[in-house]
Assembly symmetry: C2
Homo-oligomer: 109 residues x 2
Amino acid sequence: MAITKAMQFNKKQIRMAEFAKALAHPARIAILEILAVSDMCICGDITEQLPLAQSTVSQHLKVLKSAGIITGNIDGVKTCYCLDNESIDELRSMMGSLLNKLGESSSYC
Amino acid sequence: MAITKAMQFNKKQIRMAEFAKALAHPARIAILEILAVSDMCICGDITEQLPLAQSTVSQHLKVLKSAGIITGNIDGVKTCYCLDNESIDELRSMMGSLLNKLGESSSYC
DNA sequence: GTCTTTTATCGTTAATTTACGATGTATAAG
DNA sequence: CTTATACATCGTAAATTAACGATAAAAGAC
């Protein structure tokens, strides 16, 4: 197929969208907040804090894990979830530079 | 009004997820960047800069507009799109406080 | 008036997401 | 070994998203 349009999406745009997609559900925001306020990694008891079935929460955790935002370590019969600080730094950096760009805009309607 | 599961998430979480959802596609990130680098509101010529059909770009613009991130003003036969600085400030503030929370976490795995 | 341009919306298809209950799996407890 | 616990995965249904071409609508050009 012929290339009719010059531009493809670049890696930053794709990664940024991936991050945003991982954050694009209230349940996943809630999960991150739960992990954040906890002093330690949370083994279980995330489901009890959410209005969702266990399998659904597990799915949301998988989405966050796939995006690299959290890690999950099996510890005996439980799995301990934890924020991935490195990825969160990456997110902070990318989001920061995007918002900077948008903030510098002097245009108005 | 029926009580739904979604009602158990708070408004900030829902709004944050809504913002994130609007950013959750490379095309929409690209559109925001195009609007940001332009000195003025862009009337048209967004489609030419993206590898997508005109109707698809129009859909993406609608998503960004619905989330409040951009505005669209009809100007004769054209429509001028522009970043909505107020909403972007709101996004910056919400994203900032979320990332702050996540960054303060001392847990590790 | 008609024609052209610009953009939104319609109609449709394919893919993805969200949700749940049921089931599988691995470990700990007894 | 058997049972219980914790979590992942499967199967599935409903809703949403993304993509496109076709069409509609609105305004300027002629």
